[in-house]
């Protein structure tokens, strides 16, 4: 796990410092008649960005290993970790809700589609789910915003909170959450239902299901007691696979709906070349994902008695 994080850090550090933009560009504002005379070389010196890449990296890795410190944002000088931590709840809330909604919808669809393979409804679901992965998410998000916020006025278009209407905080957040979470879920449902379908098909063709059928077990029981439980196993793997997205946030959706999460922080930092924050987001995400995958493995072992750890 440590070498893994090490690889990630080197790769992302290299990538970033190769970028053509200059991190001091954010300190210059060519559109304002104020603040024209800044000493950019002093800023570069302070940020250490004029040093060779390996010196910058050595300094950075030393800071992390020795002090457990991710450094400070170039932009506002706040500790990187603090900037990340304050955004994690918003991202987890948005992504968690979206993933939860999509499982709730996708699993029944997947089961139905597998059991009634090639039925008209299965074909409809197939078509819809392909549609779901065929629309660029930014376009879909903006269309939804136009319809549900602007035309119908049902939901707010931006941010996570309103401006002190009569709603209690939790309800207010929920009210703001619905639109972005649904937009995200739309794409996810498409993927998960396809996945559930093929996973279910896989199980249905297994011998023990045939045996169960042959023994005269009712169809409902076959589907839900035998097939469903086994088909759930890959779903756990899927949760593991989804972790990078869970933590990394849905960059585009957060950006469009002005959701104050990690994705927006990531995009913003890339645009202004705030290296320290980009590195921080990358590393924090990677660590969380590695831990998450480990948990998924353990959960898998608990659910599936055939797997025993220590053997592999």
């Amino acid at each position: 796990m440590i070498p893994l994080l090490f690889i990630i850090s080197i790769v992302s550090f290299l990538l970033m410092t190769m970028a053509p933009g200059d991190p001091t560009a954010m300190f210059v504002n060519p559109e304002s008649s104020k603040g024209a005379e800044q000493d950019l070389s002093a800023i570069r010196d302070k940020l250490g960005v004029d040093k060779p890449i390996y010196v910058q990296y050595a300094k950075w890795i030393k800071m992390i290993v020795l002090d457990g410190d991710f450094g400070y944002s170039f932009q506002d000088g706040r500790p990187v970790l603090e900037k990340i931590v304050e955004r994690i709840p918003a991202t987890l809330l948005l992504m968690g809700t979206a993933i939860f909604i999509s499982f709730l919808i996708a699993i029944p669809i997947g089961i139905y589609s597998a059991v009634r393979q090639y039925s008209p409804l299965d074909n409809t679901f197939t078509f819809l789910s392909f549609l779901g992965i065929s629309i660029p998410s930014f376009f879909f998000a903006i269309m939804m915003m136009l319809v549900f916020s602007l035309k119908l006025g049902w939901f707010p278009a931006s941010n996570m909170r309103g401006d002190g209407g009569n709603l209690p905080t939790a309800l207010d957040i929920l009210y703001h959450l619905i639109l972005p979470a649904s937009v995200l879920a739309f794409g996810l449902v498409a993927q998960y239902s396809r996945f559930m379908r093929s996973s279910m098909l896989e199980v249905i063709h297994q011998d023990y299901i045939r045996t169960a059928r042959a023994k005269g077990v009712t169809e409902g029981k076959v589907v839900f007691k035998h097939a469903f439980r086994n088909a759930l196993l890959p779903i756990i793997t899927l949760i593991g696979l989804q972790l990078p997205h869970l933590f990394g946030g849905a960059l585009i959706i957060e950006q469009i709906f002005a959701w104050p999460g990690m994705g927006r922080l990531a995009i913003g930092s890339i645009f202004i070349r705030d290296y320290q924050v980009i590195m921080g987001v990358t590393m924090v995400t990677a660590v969380l994902v590695v831990i998450g995958n480990l948990l998924a493995d353990i959960l898998y072992a608990v659910v599936d008695p055939r797997i025993q750890y220590g053997k592999t």
């Binding site: 053509p20 933009g21 200059d22 560009a25 954010m26 300190f27 210059v28 504002n29 060519p30 559109e31 304002s32 008649s33 104020k34 603040g35 024209a36 005379e37 800044q38 000493d39 950019l40 070389s41 400070y72 932009q75 506002d76 000088g77 706040r78 500790p79 900037k83 304050e86 955004r87 903006i142 915003m145 136009l146 916020s149 602007l150 006025g153 707010p156 278009a157 931006s158 941010n159 996570m160 909170r161 309103g162 401006d163 002190g164 950006q255 469009i256 002005a258 104050p260 927006r264 922080l265 913003g268 645009f271 202004i272 070349r273």
Partner: protein, 537 residues
């Protein structure tokens, strides 16, 4: 200047004495019935730091402007008027200003404001180690001394006719008691103060949620009476589109700039109104004047004759703008009315290019010394008008036999290249100035950036001794009408030299809730009188 200042001072004293009979905590015309309610504003980006003069971004400075106050304020036309100082005197012999503070002023935390706070603030701004972003405005200050609790004296190193409107106006007064470590606290990037500022302005800081909102609320003890609004909320929204959607939906009350094409959508809504206003800014297509292509004045003039300014104003800005002639807004006295915009005249342009030695090659492209005339016009991605402005020029250049293309760049890349002088041509704007405009920082030869983009903002590489002289003389001239004449001369010179294509000065359109009243937008700020905004009852 002394005469004028004295006049202002007398007027101020008169005003104060008139007011003092009424109440110390209410401005003239204060109407208690207008008090109440909150307004939601927008910003594209989150604030960075709320320590005055540490930030250079609009978002931070807008909030700082509401929370902090300074000795001198500016009126609608940019003239200095009493702020925290109820009056001041100037002694030309010793180059010193003496400011007399109002009695009984308080910081938002209840502590009284004294001359020590004023001295402390300017010590921070002029400290050798200071990270003050606008350091240049303060370099002429020699010393600040406390005369007594309410009197403070500034001594200058040399004459500075903009001292009142620059340093004394932008030097926000800091609470000394919240900076125990002095300059280290001022320079600290991540202090408690930087996210929980305490000032003396009309609004006090209330809440800052990263990437969501900054909230300020009315300060009841403000020396000029509390603002009418109870709260001002600034929401961080990603772009113009989303701003407009929120405005139309009613979740936002005021949007500074509605794009010309979107105005119709906003006006359709019965709850909204739009206000067209002037902003002290110029839009231009610039180039590096040291680029061999543009070293010939005739070529530069040809570029100007090839630009269809009228199309920009009528087709892109939909009529909301003035034709550009130079870096001075037509509403300012520094503008030279005799300078006419270059008309669209492709024949003239072709003739000038021919005179400059550019001949059409076999492929129809202009050539000189075996080199083809090929340029790229750059703009920053995400801006909806600039690609069109670039396109209009490119179309005409193509007709002249110049291989012109347009290209969008991501913002930080664009800035980097523009500052380093490596873009052929670029579409950009410069703004936020009022009657105190001075272009030393963008036109003086000493401000030409080096290859790394360091050393100044004269990215168009203008260097004429005449321009330098005019810029310097302007800063020394005390008589404002003579001063304006100097810039009028500069204006004419720059136009003839065709240092860039000055395309237009846009008129901007703000969109707001129909019931939001009292809004006045000055050349330099849309929030000029935000303490006087109020809701129709």
């Amino acid at each position: 200047m002394i005469k004028k200042l004295t006049a202002v001072t007398i007027a101020a004293v008169l005003l104060i004495s008139l007011l003092s009979g009424v109440s110390s905590a209410a401005r003239s015309g204060f109407d208690p019935k207008k008090v109440g309610g909150k307004v939601v504003l927008t910003s594209f980006s989150d604030a960075v730091t709320l320590i005055p003069l540490r930030a250079n971004d609009q978002a931070s400075n807008d909030i700082i402007g509401m929370v902090f106050d300074s000795l001198v304020r500016k009126d609608f036309y940019g003239q200095p008027i009493p702020g925290m100082a109820e009056r001041w005197t100037y002694d030309a012999k010793t180059l010193s200003y003496t400011f007399y503070l109002r009695k009984g002023m308080k910081f938002h935390d209840g502590k009284p404001v004294t001359a020590n706070d004023v001295k402390f603030s300017f010590d921070m701004y002029t400290h050798p180690k200071t990270l003050n972003t606008y350091k240049a405005d303060f370099t002429d200050i020699q010393s600040v001394t406390v005369v007594n609790d309410l009197t403070v004296k500034f001594t200058l190193k040399k004459k500075n006719v903009f001292f009142l409107t620059n340093a004394a106006n932008s030097g926000a007064i800091l609470p000394k008691h919240l900076f125990p470590r002095g300059i280290d606290d001022y320079n600290a990037d991540n202090s408690y103060f930087s996210r929980h500022p305490v000032g003396t302005g009309p609004f006090k800081f209330k809440e800052w949620r990263t990437d969501e909102r900054v909230v300020v609320s009315a300060f009841n003890d403000y020396w000029n009476g509390r603002p009418y609004l109870d709260e001002v909320i600034t929401r961080i929204l990603p772009d113009n589109n989303v701003e407009s959607i929120n405005l139309i939906k009613g979740d936002v009350d005021f949007v500074q700039v509605i794009s010309p094409r979107t105005v119709a959508d906003v006006e359709k809504s019965s709850n909204l109104k739009t206000v067209v206003y002037d902003r002290g800014r110029f839009d231009y297509i610039g180039w590096n004047n040291d680029n061999p292509l543009f070293q010939d004045k005739k070529v530069r003039q040809a570029m100007n004759y090839a630009m269809d300014r009228q199309a920009v104003v009528s087709k892109i800005m939909l009529g909301r703008g003035y034709l550009g002639t130079g870096p001075f807004h037509p509403k300012l006295p520094q503008e030279n009315k005799n300078v006419k915009p270059y008309p669209l005249d492709l024949n003239k342009a072709a003739q000038l290019l021919a005179e400059a030695g550019w001949k059409k090659g076999s492929d129809g492209i202009l050539e000189k010394d075996g080199k083809k005339f090929e340029i790229e016009i750059a703009y920053n991605n995400g801006n909806v008008t600039r690609p069109k402005v670039a396109q209009i020029l490119a179309q005409n250049l193509k007709k002249l036999g110049i291989k012109a293309s347009v290209r969008g760049y991501e913002w930080s890349l664009f800035l980097d290249k523009q500052q380093k002088g490596t873009l052929d041509m670029y579409v950009l704007a410069w703004g936020g100035y009022d009657g105190n405009v001075e272009h030393y920082g963008i036109l003086h030869s000493s401000a030409i950036p080096d290859k790394n983009g360091d050393g100044g903002n004269n990215a168009w590489h203008v260097h004429y001794s005449k321009v330098d002289q005019l810029l310097e003389a302007y800063l020394q001239e005390e008589d404002s009408s003579k001063r304006n004449k100097i810039y009028q001369e500069l204006h004419a010179f720059l136009a003839d030299e065709a240092i860039a294509i000055f395309t237009h000065h846009p008129k901007l359109t703000a969109g707001m809730n129909k019931n939001l009243l009292g809004v006045r937008i000055s050349l330099s700020s849309p929030y000029f009188n935000i303490e006087d905004w109020y809701w129709k009852k």
